[in-house]
């Protein structure tokens, strides 16, 4: 094993795959000469040259569409959005072209593409730079949506995403790029669609994914001191969702809390709550509970961010709620 930053894990995945397959190229704003707005692609222009590491103008709709067209014609683009907030400018091409192409062409045209970049809040940036998009893209059939929470998963999943023949949305976090974690020395892949039990426990299941899963880890540590044992499932992929893993865990713990950063309406948590009440109703000892961002655009002021985002204290409260212990 070796210790690397999240951004380095992503870079290793990109480099290894680009060395392996000439048809893969990276495009996006500031990815080449500036070495990436968040330095994920550091050194890649030097290794692969401007044909394969391509700086674009600020024209998300255009370059997303160009990448989809290139994918229809045999290439395997990796498109970096500086953040997924800006993917809204491009979303027509992601949804109407990439996601629907195979279906509407009766299987003739496939779109092997990865759209990647950071999602979610990243400090005091106000609402246009703070949105979590996991559930937005997960809503759309034709896409796969991957949201890793640590460097090891990030590398293995990004390699799988690049090799995948379907369009994959791959979501990172500005706040995770500098975080370190252990990864294997050699090559490895992690399959898309498989959740990972990051912490085994017996009393309550906490399902989460991406950066915000840290609030669950912190909550579980605290709760352990009070004798409450949490099982933490990292979904890693929010489309498809590994329902089986969740149901198996709920059958054991009989209690479920879902933690996510997105807004509550039509979210991953509402989807999971539906699925669990449908398929594990008899196993539940308490209603499924969740912790999400407040149902408002995220403002700039720290007091309002504090009042809005999931944190360990809110996760602890949610766990105590499903455990029927006083807070």
């Amino acid at each position: 094993m070796k210790t690397v930053q999240f951004r380095e894990a992503l870079r290793e995945a990109l480099n290894e795959e680009m060395r392996r397959d000439e048809s893969i190229f990276l495009m996006g704003e500031e990815v080449a000469e500036y070495n990436g707005a968040y330095k994920v692609s550091q050194g890649m222009l030097a290794e692969f040259g401007p044909k394969r590491v391509i700086d674009t103008p600020i024209a998300e709709l255009g370059f997303a569409g160009i990448a989809v067209g290139a994918a229809m014609n045999g290439l395997r683009p990796v498109v970096e959005f500086m953040t997924f907030n800006f993917s809204l400018v491009a979303i027509d091409q992601v949804i109407n072209s990439a996601a629907k192409m195979m279906s509407m062409s009766g299987g003739q045209f496939t779109v092997p593409i990865v759209f990647r970049g950071p999602t979610g809040s990243a400090g005091m940036l106000s609402s246009q730079h703070s949105q979590a998009f996991e559930n937005w893209y997960a809503n759309c059939p034709g896409l796969k949506v991957v949201v890793p929470s640590n460097p090891c998963d990030a590398k293995g999943l990004l390699k799988s995403a690049i090799r995948d023949n379907d369009p994959v949305i791959f979501m990172e976090s500005e706040q995770m790029y500098g975080e370190k974690g252990e990864i294997p020395e050699g090559e490895y892949l992690i399959p898309i669609g498989v959740a990972d039990i990051k912490r085994a426990g017996t009393d309550v299941t906490i399902v989460s994914f991406g950066k915000i899963i840290k609030t669950a880890f912190a909550a579980a540590e605290e709760l352990q001191k009070e004798g409450i044992s949490c099982e933490i499932i990292d979904l890693r992929t929010v489309r498809p969702i590994d329902y089986k893993c969740i149901i198996e865990s709920v059958k054991k713990t009989n209690r479920l809390v879902v933690v996510e950063e997105a807004w509550p309406l039509a979210s991953i948590s509402s989807e999971i709550a539906f699925n669990v009440q449908k398929n594990a109703f008899d196993y539940l000892d308490a209603p499924v509970t969740r912790v999400t961002c407040a149902d408002v655009p995220l403002p700039y002021a720290p007091t309002l961010i504090e009042a809005s985002l999931p944190n360990a204290a809110r996760v602890i409260n949610a766990v105590k709620e499903v455990m029927y212990v006083s807070k």
Partner: protein, 345 residues
């Protein structure tokens, strides 16, 4: 329709025909000095982490707003992107509320909810700082659409960066603005860089005013380091818009002295390049004119500087002493409907 003339820069635009008097020069000087001192302080406070988030300074570009302000009325409209501290100062919004916004305080011009990138002032006809590059371009046309619809003669100044002109939204907005003769003036703040990407690296078309020509929009390249040339170009465009003859595009050649944002070391350009532009500093050149024409004595100039320094200090004090928004503010200002049923589980 007036025939579209595309002027080349320098020869054509550094000379002006308008005679500017003492009052105008003194106004420009004070206004730009206020912007400069305010933002120099902002930069320091950012380093001290008093100001957070993304923060983009206008230092070097002040002549654009100063020259445009003397060419417009206070009831005209202004909209811009996230590099938006100078524009509301130009409109006349007090710096206390701008500093308080940077501090995320409830007394800020957006109640601490917007921060550096999202200054707004309805009172001063400032339609905001916008964070999605290019997003404000159609908005600017729409603001002008409403004024035309209402039959008044107000015009809208819609600012954008050189990077923003590569967004598709610009083309759709330009086309409709021309089709419907909207009273909007599109102003490109061409500081030659979009983050680390120079204009040359984003397109075949390096003279950005030419983008308007495809729509037969009157389009000009202007020396943006001079209040005089900016004023004159904006005046011509404003007159055209007020008459009902529609939009113009003004490419203002300018420069930002600082990095893109506070976290950018700006390694993509040379020190010499920055220095070259600092020699054309708009505040210095206005000051030189003032001194040459003896519009103010050294003592008077000193007094102005002292006054502005005190104003900036006062804004910091005001921001420091103001409270953060109360957490109960979270569910305010999202809907007009007062009893909107938020999901709170």
């Amino acid at each position: 329709m007036e025939k579209t003339v595309a002027k080349k820069t320098k020869e054509a635009t550094t000379k002006t025909t308008t005679a500017f008097g003492k009052d105008t020069y003194m106004y420009w000087y004070e206004l730009m000095l206020l912007m400069r001192k305010f933002e120099e302080k902002t930069g320091q406070l950012y380093v001290q982490q008093k100001i957070r988030g993304f923060c983009h300074l206008y230092i070097g570009q002040e002549a654009l707003v100063a020259g445009a302000e003397t060419a417009t009325r206070k009831d005209d409209r202004v909209i811009t992107a996230y590099r938006d501290h100078a524009h509301p100062i130009g409109r006349g919004l007090g710096i206390n509320s701008i500093m308080a916004e940077l501090y995320a305080k409830s007394t800020g011009c957006s109640k601490g909810k917007g921060g550096s990138m999202h200054m707004f002032s309805k009172e001063f006809n400032f339609f905001g700082g916008h964070g999605i590059v290019g997003g404000q371009i159609p908005l600017g046309a729409g603001i002008a659409f409403a004024d035309k619809y209402n039959g008044n003669d107000r015009v809208t100044l819609c600012y954008m960066g050189d990077g923003a002109v590569r967004q598709g939204a610009l083309h759709e907005a330009f086309n409709m603005a021309m089709l419907w003769k909207l009273p909007v003036i599109f102003i490109i703040e061409n500081n030659n860089y979009a983050m680390g990407t120079s204009v040359e690296r984003t397109s075949n078309v390096h003279d950005l005013y030419k983008i308007g020509l495809g729509y037969e929009m009157p389009s000009y390249q202007v020396d943006g380091m001079n209040c005089e040339t900016v004023h004159e170009a904006v005046s011509v465009a404003v007159a055209r818009a007020r008459k009902g003859d529609g939009p113009s595009l003004l490419e203002m050649k300018t420069y930002r002295y600082k990095g893109h944002s506070m976290s950018d070391a700006a390694t993509y350009r040379t020190k010499a390049e920055v220095e070259e532009f600092k020699h054309k500093d708009p505040i210095e050149s206005v000051l030189a004119t003032i001194k040459k024409n003896k519009y103010a004595t050294d003592k008077e100039l000193e007094a102005i500087e002292e006054k502005i320094k005190a104003q900036v200090e006062e804004s910091v004090k005001f921001a420091e002493e103001s409270p953060y928004p109360d957490p109960s503010e979270l569910y305010k200002d999202v809907y007009v409907q007062e009893d909107y049923p938020y999901i709170k589980d």
